[in-house]
Each structure stands twice: as structure tokens, then as C-alpha cells.
Amino acid sequence: MFKTLKMMLKLKKTYRINTILYILRQLPLVNRILPPSLTGHKILSAIVTLILIIWEITAIFAGKLIYYFGAIGYTRQLSDNIPSDVLFVQMLFILTIGGLFMNVDFLNYRKDKYYAMMIFKLNAKEYTFLDFCSSLVKIIVGTLPVAIYMGLLWNVPLWFLILIPFSVALGKFIYAAYVLSSFDRTGVVHYAGKSLISWFAALVIILAAIILPAFEIELPRELCMGGILILIPVGLLCVKKVLCYKDYLKINKFMLNQVDMDMAKAKNRGDNTITSSLDEGSLVTSNKKGFEFLNDIFVKRHKKILWKPAVNLTIMYLALALIINVGLAFLPNGRLACGNMIEKMIPYFVYIVCISNRGMYYTRALFINCDHSMLTFSFYKKRNNVLKLFIIRLREIVKINLLPAFALGLALASCVFMPGDIESVKKGLVIILTIVAESTVFSIHCLMLYYLFQPYNVNTEVKNVYYYIAIFLTYALLYVLMFQRIPALTFGLACLIFSVVYTVITCILVYNLAPKTFKLKD
């Protein structure tokens, strides 16, 4: 066991250090300083090891800080009446249920697991158990101080706060035991987050976590606490199954092969969706010229992945609005509560606008079916041509996203509308304008990131650290925005002005930088 632990730690260290080196080598100046290998470079090796230690410690606490102060803390903004201690245990209870089947680091896919068991032939049972235990230790170490600090601020009893990390950690054994039993029965490894049903259930849980406090619905505090604490005895019962299981090598092999196949299938499915999307064939044509012609044909021949989903989303938003409005007609005071809630949550809808934006799909299709080949021609990379096509594409993607954005704005406006109240009409108009402006900003943002980072390699895989950082910063910024209590009118106007300024800045950046950045990468 000790030998396996030692090898596991060594392997993880090497794997992580290589990841850090890969990231560092993509940074402009660092790239020149770093040697091809760290062998024989003691100081550099010590620096990278230090980065690794900082990374590991940050990873242990950062996730928990975001979970407690971000996710649970955010709900305080949604409810004015639920006492803090009740809200804390309620949120913890709901999110822990989700985490039980979505966030279990047991038999999930990692490359270092593959190397350890398939190449270095480490004992599969010992490795799996030690790996699982190390993830649980991280949970306990990370959760304990954060939960105690935040829980005490929210008046939650200390004894309960101390038990939380152990309860959560032992709860993970329940899913682990389920994975092992279901593999014996079905021969399929149901690792956390594998099935679509689990994702759907997670979505329902997240919605419940938001909607309950937003509607000031509180669950009994003792029930929630009991629900969390019961994980300790149930988890302990499941530990036996995990400890006594014999076929770890077999189940790991199945899992690794299964995930490899699933990933290959998913990638092919994605690529095929795009390459097979030329449904209209050569019948579609265009009277335009030059780059306008190229873009027109592209959009017409990619209706299936560009306009069709946008139209479907539009229909969905309008149908939802209809259902909600019919429902509200039967609820006395429902319209007022619903209107107030939506008004409070306007910044939150930035996220909805962001995830329903077709920008990422558009740029992916652009690369796979057009730019991947056209970027081999020098005329295509000339500064003026890059900007010309960028502006045409920008106009196109803004148009595609505008339809569902307008429908979402209309749907929200209809929920805010109070018959006979002119103010509510004004509010509705501001909401529509805000959502449309947000959609425009995201469209510009997606296309700009594509042109400035060109994240795809020749195999159409995204391999660009800067691109990931930019995406992360985008989401982080959105998250911060959600907490801002900005009046709807101010927020809407700010969005509109920002979208215009952002367009101008983006065009300048693309004109100056894209001839260097918008190219094929190995």
C-alpha cells in the first residue's frame, strides 16, 4: 500500500508539473527562458514544485470558497425573510444531494490513472482506494475551515459545522458503492456525471436551490440537518462495499476504455454535426460578391446549426412565457411576485443569454468548414480582408442571436407587465433592450476571442491556454455582475453603451492583431 501511495504521489506530481510547464511554455516571455527539460535545473525545478504546491493548496480551498461564499452566499441576495441559519442548511442539503451523484471523484476519468494502472501496472485496488481517499481528505481539509467560518457568521451551530465535511466525505461512499454494484449488474461504469439523467437532475436541483429562496420558501431546518447527517451512518455502511470489492483492475479498464470511446464519439458527433450540416447542398446560391458571397453561402448552407437552433430557442422562450402568463392568471398576487422576482434577477439573466448564445457554435463551424482550409491562402490572411470578413461575420452572428434574445426579453417583459400600469411597460422595454444588448456583447465577444486567439489546432481541438483564461475571466466577470444591485434602467443603458464601445474596440483590436493571431496552428 505504501509503495502504491508513493508511486501515486510521484506520478501525480510529474503529471501536474508537466501540465504547469505546458501552460508556462505558452506564455510569451517565459517560453524563451524555460529549457526543454527541467532535468539538471535545480532552481527551476524548485520554482515549478513551489507553483505546484501553491496550485494544490489553492485548489483545495478555492473550490470550497466559491461553493460556500459563491453558491450558498448568493442565495442570501434572493431571500429577505428566510433566517440565515435555515438558508444555510437548506442550501447545503439541496446542493449536497446534487454533489452525491455529480461530484464524486471515484472511477472518473483522468489520464494519470490510465498511466498508473495500464502502463506502470500499479495495484488497481490500492490505487483506486488511495486516490478516492485523497480526494475525500481534500474535501475535509478544504471544507472544515470555510464551513465553520461562514456557518458561524450565519448562526449555524458549531457542532453541526464540524460534522459537515465528514458527512459530505462519507456521503461520497454511497455513490461509489452504487458504481461498483451497478457495474456488477450491468457491466457499465456509471461514473459521476455520465448519464444525461444525472445532468437533468442536477439542473432541477440547482433550479430548486434558486427558486425556493427566491419565493421565500423555507424547508424545516432540522429536516435539512438530519438529511445531511444521515449521510454519516449510510456512508459508513457503504465503505465496506468499496473496501471489499475485488475487480478494481477490470472496472478501471472498462472505465478508461469506455470514456475514451465516449470522448471519441462525442468529438466525431460534434464534427459530423458540422460537416454533415450542408443539408441544402449545392441548390442554395447567392447573388452577392466577394466576402459577402462567401458568408452568405456559408450561413445558408449551415442553417441546421445556426438559424434552426436559434428559431427553436425563440419558440421555447415564447412558449414558456405563454405558459407562465396563463399560470399567473390563476394565481392571485402571482403576477406581482413574479414581476418582483424577475426584476431582482435581471443581472442573473446575463448567464442565460450567455449560454444560449450561438457564438461558440458559429465560430466552431467557421473553423471546421471554412477557415481551416481558407487560412492556407495568403490573400485570406491580409489585414484588410481579415477585417472585412470579421465585420460581415459580426453582423451575421449578432443577427442570429438577436432573435432568441428578443424573444427572451419579450418573455421576461410579459411576466413583469401589470395591466394598466405604464411603469411596468417601461420596465418591460428596458428589459428587452438590456437582453438584446447583452446578446450583442456576447456575439462580439465570441467572435473576437476566435479571431484574437484562434484556439483550434489542425485537428479542430481547442488547445490554447489564453483562450481558456479569457473564457474563465468572462464567466468570472458574469458571476461578479450577478451580485450587483443595479437598477434595471441603469443596467440596460450601461449594456447598450458597452455593446457599442465594445464593437469599436473589438474592430480596432482585430484590425491590428488578427493578421498575426488568426492563423492555422499545429
Binding site: S282, G290, F293, R301, T376, F377
Partner: protein
């Protein structure tokens, strides 16, 4: 006109792939660029085509004693794997290419005449490029690279995976267009290089060197080329 390369250096980390190349290519000739796997032939092309940054040196062309830096419009680059936008038909691709580059195209002809020139049949001209065979895509890629009459034509193993008929058609095409331009053709197939090229250039130790053919028959010439490439191996082993 000459393509003048002076002190061209390209490194990947500490590995020197191109070590200060000094060479000049003459107009009207096809140069066969030979080198072992990993010698840096594609890197050399990518440097000339400005697809990757170079670590030193200049690439220019000299005309009537006047030297100017090579511009993107001066280069046509044909890759070994033809890459064409598959959502367009052959006719649409050609129409788009001509519209964008019409200022550079001398003696503009009707589109069908270009198709006739490379032997793409009328029934294939309005098909989507995704339904084109490898050879047809290759012909089209070659066509768009030559109709704008670039000063320099870079061909990275373009005939390697073509059937014998298409390969012969392409060779004829290259012979036909070689006057007035510099053509550099990389290949692993020695017979092809000897058959098509006017000069054989080896990429050896990160430098370019001409293999002199004077007074040698084809077999003796081949032996000299192989000996030169083996010498490179021996140097690397040492």
C-alpha cells in the same frame, strides 16, 4: 527575377532547424527540394510563407537589380493534403477566389476555361467540394494558386497521393506554368524529382545545397543524392 534567402534561421526551443540558409532561386526553374524526414522542408516552406515567425534572416526577391521583401501576394502555397472550403461548389470557390484576387490575375478568363485547363469535368463543377475526390481537390487547389500568377510557387509534396494519371496531368501543368515564376517542389519520390525538376536542392544540416548533375546519368545522380543524404545521417550520428 531571383528569390534571395539570406541568413534564414529557425529554431524550435534549442533545436536549430534552419541554420542561416543563404540561397538564391532563379526564375523559370522548378527546384526539387529533398531532405530526410524531419529535415525541415515544411518548416522552410512555412517560414517563406510567413506562417511561422523566423529567428533571423531575410527572404526577398530581386528583379532588375532591385531587392524587395516578399509579400503574401507573391506566394502560392500548395499543401500535400488539399484543403478547400467544403461547403462551396467548385464553381463558387473559383468565383470567390477570382472576385477577391481579380487585380492580381492577368488575362482574366471565363471560369469554365479554367476548369477545362485543369481537366475538371463540366458535371463536377457545380458539386460541393466535400464530394470532390482527393485528386480533384488537389487540381483545384493547384489551379487557384497558379491563376493569380504568383512570383513564387511552393509545393509541399503535392503529387504524393495522386493516381498516376492525375500526377502526370499535374506535372504537365507545372511544366506549363513554370516560365516567369520560381517553383520549389518538395518530395520524397526521387524519380519524380528527377523527372520534373530542373535543379535538385538538398536540405542538409539545416542548410540548402545544390546537387550538381553535370556529366552524370540518372542512376549516378540518384546515388550522389542518396550519398549526400546518408552523409547527413552520419554527421547526425557522430
Amino acid at each position: 527575377m531571383r528569390l534571395v534567402i539570406e541568413g534564414l534561421i529557425k529554431n524550435f526551443d534549442k533545436k536549430e532547424v534552419l541554420r542561416g540558409i543563404n540561397f538564391s532561386f532563379e526564375e523559370g526553374k522548378i527546384y526539387g527540394l529533398l531532405g530526410r524526414n524531419g529535415a525541415g522542408k515544411t518548416t522552410f516552406f512555412n517560414c517563406v510563407n510567413k506562417d511561422i515567425p523566423i529567428n533571423g534572416g531575410t527572404i526577398s526577391y530581386e528583379e532588375n537589380g532591385k531587392k524587395e521583401l516578399l509579400q503574401p501576394d507573391d506566394i502560392g502555397y500548395v499543401l500535400s493534403v488539399p484543403t478547400v472550403p467544403e461547403f462551396l461548389t467548385g464553381r463558387e470557390f473559383l468565383k470567390f477566389y477570382i472576385e477577391i484576387n481579380k487585380k492580381r490575375i492577368p488575362d482574366l478568363k471565363p471560369i469554365d476555361e479554367y476548369f477545362d485547363y485543369v481537366g475538371i469535368l463540366p458535371e463536377d463543377r457545380d458539386k460541393l467540394l466535400k464530394d470532390y475526390s482527393h485528386g480533384m481537390k488537389n487540381k483545384l487547389q493547384m489551379l487557384v494558386n497558379i491563376i493569380s500568377n504568383p512570383k513564387l510557387l511552393l509545393l509541399d509534396e503535392p503529387l504524393t497521393s495522386l493516381d498516376v494519371v492525375v500526377a502526370e496531368e499535374m506535372k504537365d501543368l507545372l511544366r506549363d506554368v513554370k516560365p516567369g515564376k520560381i517553383t520549389i517542389f518538395s518530395t520524397h519520390i526521387m524519380d519524380l524529382a528527377l523527372d520534373l525538376c530542373d535543379e535538385i536542392v538538398l536540405l542538409n544540416h539545416g542548410e540548402l545545397e545544390v546537387v550538381d548533375k553535370s556529366n552524370l546519368n540518372n542512376n549516378e545522380f540518384k546515388e550522389r543524392i542518396i550519398a549526400a543524404l546518408k552523409e547527413e545521417e552520419n554527421v547526425q550520428d557522430a
